[in-house]
């Protein structure tokens, strides 16, 4: 298990390979559909993502004693941000994208060029992800986007994930998908098993 601490410098991020388990500590920012569109449309970056982490997550947050408490904070499916992510990576200097299900070839290429990796959080592990958030340090664009889509500033300790796409063009999803399709073609005695699972 590789321990990653904020700020995430380029050298440690480039040292990661697809398949490495990681434990993340420090600041991460959430951002999903509305946030990506907002940045693509020329909106001002609400926080500094340089050497930081972006988490595809729509948390359940309750207001309590003048602060916030996170109840559930599992990952949401990342493919919806494919159209925006290469530009976002280039513009923001972000080093870790955390989400679920992986992203496309253009995003993988942007990660190679700029030194960024994709970390697969465990889908459905909402209680555990919430528990790793030790503090909600702030929130941006809350009025504009609502609680599920706002940019939350989480301070996490020991947030677990697996590097699924690295900065050298390696993608666990693509490898596993290709191998499983070859194996299925063999099992079914098919010349070619053509279905595209979306992981290229």
């Amino acid at each position: 298990m590789t321990v990653l601490k904020y700020p995430f410098d380029e050298r440690s991020v480039r040292a990661l390979k697809a398949g490495n388990a990681v434990s993340i500590t420090g600041r991460i920012y959430t951002g999903r559909d509305k946030f990506h569109k907002y940045v693509a449309d020329g909106g001002e970056m609400p926080v500094d993502f340089r050497d930081g982490a972006l988490y595809h997550c729509g948390p359940v947050v309750v207001e309590e004693n003048g602060g916030y408490r996170v109840v559930a904070a599992g990952p949401t499916t990342s493919v919806r941000e494919n159209p925006y992510e290469p530009d976002f990576i280039a513009k923001s200097g972000v080093r870790l994208i955390i989400g679920k299900g992986g992203m496309d070839a253009a995003t993988l290429e942007a990660m190679r060029r700029h030194g960024c990796v994709y970390v697969q959080a465990v889908g459905g592990a909402a209680a555990l992800c919430a528990a790793s958030v030790r503090k909600v340090a702030g929130v941006s664009l809350l009025d504009e986007f609502g609680a599920a889509e706002a940019v939350w500033h989480f301070d996490v300790v020991g947030f677990k994930g697996v590097v699924a796409m690295d900065s050298h063009g390696g993608s666990l999803f693509a490898d596993v998908a290709a191998a499983s399709k070859r194996r299925l073609a063999a099992l079914l005695s098919l010349e070619e098993y053509a279905f595209n699972t979306g992981h290229r």
């Binding site: 388990a21 599992g74 679920k100 909402a126 209680a127 992800c129 666990l172 998908a177 053509a194």
Partner: protein, 278 residues
């Protein structure tokens, strides 16, 4: 305790406490993986999450899903749709369920998770006076599918070999999306609607049971082993377990149709039964 409060408790328990057989299946899967593999990390994270959610009584997964109730006929006047809806509204108010019900025309949220058709309620014949709840999230429901045989791309004809081909195809297509290791509920035959209904009902069977029909039992075992040999693993990151279970039922069909329906369920197979005495 009144019926509304008891059903609200059932909802909380179902949402926060994974059934023992599913948890055992996850532990077995973990033992099969190499110690520091990504599959082992994912499975350990899932098991830690299961433990934490049970202890804190909070939802296992933020997608608290479609709620489907199976209620004994004998409880028709006790566990009425109106009372079940009140229990759902109460559970939502207490934070045991996410606000998860959207009007399909207007896009507006039903903030108490109650509407015409939500939750889903079936009154069924049963030996004991029980209420069973199944909670199934959208990520897994999106991976359910229905095949119409013959299917030339899969080389699948109208026989059990054709069914086998469909089931393996469904597992390959779900990789990376439906949170694996999952469970397949399957219906061979029926019409399109009863196919999906029967397939989903198979998810209520304990993981360690098998079909009474020898041919289906053999198919369940074979496809389960083959699916786990594809290398897909937990969350599609590679590994030895893509499926925890595979449950097949068959229904009669008309000569013109041969459907194979697959209800894909993620590892968060939230199901629970409670008895209500008269």
């Amino acid at each position: 305790m009144d019926v509304v409060a008891r059903i609200a408790d059932l909802i909380r328990e179902t949402s926060s406490s994974l059934p023992d057989d599913v948890e055992r299946g996850l532990r077995r899967a973990l033992r099969r993986e190499e110690k520091d593999s990504s599959a082992a990390v994912v499975l350990r994270t899932i098991l830690d999450n299961v433990k934490l959610a049970r202890k804190s009584g909070t939802p296992l997964c933020q997608d608290t899903g479609t709620l489907t109730f199976f209620v004994s006929e004998s409880l028709r006047r006790k566990a009425t749709p109106e009372r079940i809806r009140r229990a759902v509204a109460l559970a939502t108010e207490r934070g045991w369920l996410r606000k998860n019900t959207i009007d399909s025309v207007s896009g507006v949220s039903y903030d108490d998770n109650c509407a015409d058709g939500a939750p889903v309620i079936h009154y069924v014949a049963s030996a004991r006076p029980t209420v069973t709840l199944l909670m199934k999230g959208g990520g897994s429901e999106n991976m359910s599918r229905q095949y119409s045989l013959p299917d030339s791309a899969l080389g699948a004809g109208r026989d059990l070999e054709g069914v086998r081909r469909c089931l393996l195809d469904a597992v390959v297509k779900a990789q990376g999306y439906g949170c694996a290791p999952g469970v397949l509920g399957v219906c061979i035959g029926g019409d399109r609607a009863t196919g999906y209904e029967t397939a989903k009902e198979q998810l209520l069977r304990p993981l360690d049971d098998s079909s009474d029909d020898p041919a289906l039992r053999a198919l369940e075992r074979r496809v389960l082993d083959e699916a786990n040999s594809l290398g897909i693993g937990p969350m599609g990151l590679g590994g030895k377990t893509a499926l925890l279970g595979l449950k097949i039922a068959a229904r009669p069909r008309v000569p013109a149709s041969f459907f194979v329906t697959v209800a894909y369920m993620c590892w968060a197979l939230r199901r629970r039964t409670m008895e209500i005495q008269g």
